[in-house]
Amino acid sequence: MIVRTDDLHKAFNRHEALRGLSIAVEEGSAYALIGPNGAGKTTTLRVLMNILKPERGSATVLGVDSRRLTAAEFSQIGYVSENQELPARLTVRQYLEYLRPFYASWDRKLEDSILEELRLPPDIRIGNLSHGMRMKAALACALPLKPRLLVLDEPFSGLDALVRDEFMERLLQQAGEMTILISSHELAEIEHVATHVGFIDQGRLLFQDSMVELTGRVREVRVTLEGKVVPPAAVPDGWLQLAVAGNVLSFVDTRFSEERLSQSVATHFKGIRNVDVRPVALRSIFTTLARTTRDGEG
């Protein structure tokens, strides 16, 4: 694992931001850390980058305890955050010139192509750039070093659609060459890049899975009966957000398999007219799980 946390705890005064978080990111994967606001995503990434120190538990990055990360490890890590403060009085070009000597792996040609593709004005002071441009500048300062691990903290926050596309396009070009750890609310964007997803809430990991398995095991199901639906007294495991409208029952099955669903539906209902099963977008998976967690259904 290129990133691993075990029983990670971090508190700010009385607020526990992380409560025993354990995640594992495989090398070469694109791991999306998702969760509602205040779930602890940014805190997790800051602990991993040794910007914050955990109270308890451990975090390793590139096989090194995050508290002992040195220049040797940081030379293999790219970090882009919506809160990142780049030197406002330097131009993009000046800052890239400043950064180059710190990285042995810095690719000058890649830097030029990134500047061109992202359409970044190199001679304008970073402080005078718009938020979107600053985010692109941050990405332009992270990709040319050809990082082994790229950490992105809410990179799409506040970006318009065009900038998001440009940002994602550029990211996807290098996605296969590195491990990406990304936290974001923009699940539609993440869906294109993530191979794994971890869902955290209130500082705890609720689940982590590969996207293939996650999207494979979550389905939106509509069961149409001959007569009026009477919801089962004991809801089968994994059925969330049950809704009844006349003779139609809809729910999200988070443990989907065709065989299991058929058996469950047949067991609980008579006079089945139709069973409609549809794949669920990551956004819907996230909102379903988030609501369930919030409402204490899970």
Partner: protein
């Protein structure tokens, strides 16, 4: 990589650094042009104000350099870059030395040279001031800079610290409770300043290490808070400890060994001149005989601690006697100065003034007591004699530096202003002598002792200054000077300087006396 980081900071702050360097140089040139007695006093004031602004600029530029790569901030980009803490520390220190301190040093050197001092003297003077500014301004600013993330935050913290200091120390301690600093106003005051400098150097080293290697901001801030408290409390260092340290640093240890102080009742009560104003506060005058004082020496009392006991040895009062505890009078009021003007070893007789709280005096005045006075004293020896024209003089005198004299605008005082890159005398006597050498005005003395091994000055400039005035004409007509306005042409000012050679203590014990016996003729 330190050099690389330094270049980045210089690129970002070059304008501020250049403006500050220009200000230093402008001040140096302005001061040199104005001379010892500015022909346009307003420009002298401007130079003084600019000096304050420049010192504030030193602190702000240092803060700004630290904030380019703020340590406590969670959002700073450098935190996730492969930058070694040691490189960052070196870069910041180099910035401070090259872009903050070096321009000041160069400007001070230029000023020293423009004022006509030799290169070594100007260099030493500039280096001494540079070190003082480093310890008192730059390093504290660096400390604030390394535990804050913006100028606004640093100013807020500094303002809070200042308010806390004023509230707790000045108002709470000194004004409400009458607690006085132990060495303030004495020649030992430099010890506190030296402690500050040491605390700044050690504190900076510790906090920089903690911040850049461990990013322990809370601990660093706590250390700075504790260090600040220690710096404030250092002004209350126990006197005997401070004086013992000063004794070890004496230039001529043992020189005062023959000096003896004893109670000498035969001298009788003090006889103040007719018409003298009543003394401020409750004062008694103890007759003393001083023996063993070398010729042309000066004995100065730095502090006296008084203990009054009854016949059974029970302490009735204990306190500091050369300082009014009622808030009236001052250290200067009760200073004891003994000068040997006769042959060596001739005894000198003098009354030592001792301040007492009014209620203590009222309670004990008529009862038999034992008086114990622990005297902390410094022996000064005559250092050098100088002679310079009383008016229109502009001379260079070894040990005194460059000195100019003139008659003041009122036409009743001779003013002198001396300056030197290394040090100026802090104790001297002066006489005005007419051109024939036959008439002299009464001798005047000045002593503001400073026992520091190296005089430290940071304002207004790199030079140490001595300003002094001697009257020769009384417009009210009450005093007539032998060398008056009619003889001032060609008159000369004779200066005799004194240097501290040895520091020592003596205990004076007087048995079975009454305080009333030592009262002044005015009563107390």
């Amino acid at each position: 990589m330190a050099w690389h980081i330094l270049k980045k900071d210089a690129r970002l702050l070059w304008l501020a650094a250049a403006a500050l360097a220009f200000t230093h140089i402008a001040i140096a040139i302005l001061r040199s042009w104005l001379g010892l007695f500015p022909h346009t006093p307003q420009l002298g004031v401007l130079a003084d104000v600019l000096s304050i602004i420049a010192l504030i600029g030193v602190a702000i530029l240092t803060l700004a350099a630290m904030h380019q790569d703020a340590v406590p901030d969670l959002r700073q980009d450098w935190l996730i870059r492969p930058i070694k803490p040691l490189d960052m520390i070196l870069a910041k220190l180099c910035f401070v030395l090259l872009l903050v301190q070096a321009p000041l040093f160069i400007a001070d050197l230029v000023e020293g040279l423009l004022q006509g001092f030799s290169f070594p003297a100007a260099t030493m003077g500039a280096a001494a001031r540079n070190l003082t500014v480093l310890c008192l301004f730059t390093l504290p600013a660096l400390l604030f800079g390394v535990v804050t993330h913006s100028l606004t935050q640093a100013f807020a913290v500094a303002a809070a610290a200042l308010i806390l200091y004023l509230a707790v120390f000045l108002v709470g301690t000194v004004m409400l409770f009458g607690v006085r600093t132990s060495v303030g106003g004495t020649g030992l005051a430099w010890l506190v300043e030296a402690f500050w400098a040491g605390a700044a150097i050690i504190g900076t080293a510790m906090v920089i290490g903690l911040q850049f290697f461990r990013r322990a901001t809370t601990l660093s801030r706590a250390l700075i808070f504790a260090g600040g408290g220690a710096v404030i409390l250092s002004a209350f260092v126990p006197w005997h400890l401070a004086f013992a340290l000063q004794e070890t640093l004496a230039k001529e240890p043992g020189a005062a060994r023959p000096v003896d102080l004893s109670f000498y009742p035969q001298l009788g009560p003090v006889a103040l001149p007719a018409g003298s104003a009543a003394p401020r506060g409750t004062v008694v005058y103890v007759p003393l005989r001083v023996r063993g004082l070398p010729r042309a020496a000066l004995l100065l009392l730095d502090r006296a601690n008084l203990r009054i006991t009854d016949r059974s040895g029970r302490t009735l009062y204990e306190g500091r006697s050369n300082l009014s505890v009622d808030g009236v009078g001052s250290i200067l009021d009760a200073r004891l100065e003994v000068r040997q003007q006769g042959n060596a070893d001739s005894p000198v007789y003098i009354h030592q003034r001792i301040f007492l709280p009014a209620d203590v005096y009222a309670r004990l005045r008529d009862q038999p007591i034992t008086l114990e006075v622990d005297e902390s004293l410094t022996l000064f020896r005559s250092q050098a004699k100088y002679s310079l024209p009383a008016a229109g003089g502009d001379v260079r005198l070894a040990g005194l530096g460059r000195c100019a004299s003139r008659i003041d605008a009122d036409g009743d005082d001779v003013l002198i202003h001396c300056e030197d890159p290394m040090r100026v005398p802090t104790c001297f006597t002066a006489e005005l002598e007419d051109s024939s050498g036959s008439l002299r005005n009464p001798e005047r003395e000045f002593c503001d002792p400073d026992y520091s091994p190296v005089q430290a000055a940071f304002w207004p400039d790199t030079l140490h200054h001595l300003h002094w005035g001697a009257p020769f004409f009384d417009r009210a007509g009450l005093v007539h000077y032998p060398v008056d306005g009619s003889r001032i042409d060609g008159a000369r000012l004779l200066l005799q300087t004194y240097e501290p050679r040895d520091h020592f203590t003596r205990r004076l014990t007087v048995h079975d006396v009454r305080l009333a016996d030592f009262a002044s003729p005015h009563g107390t």
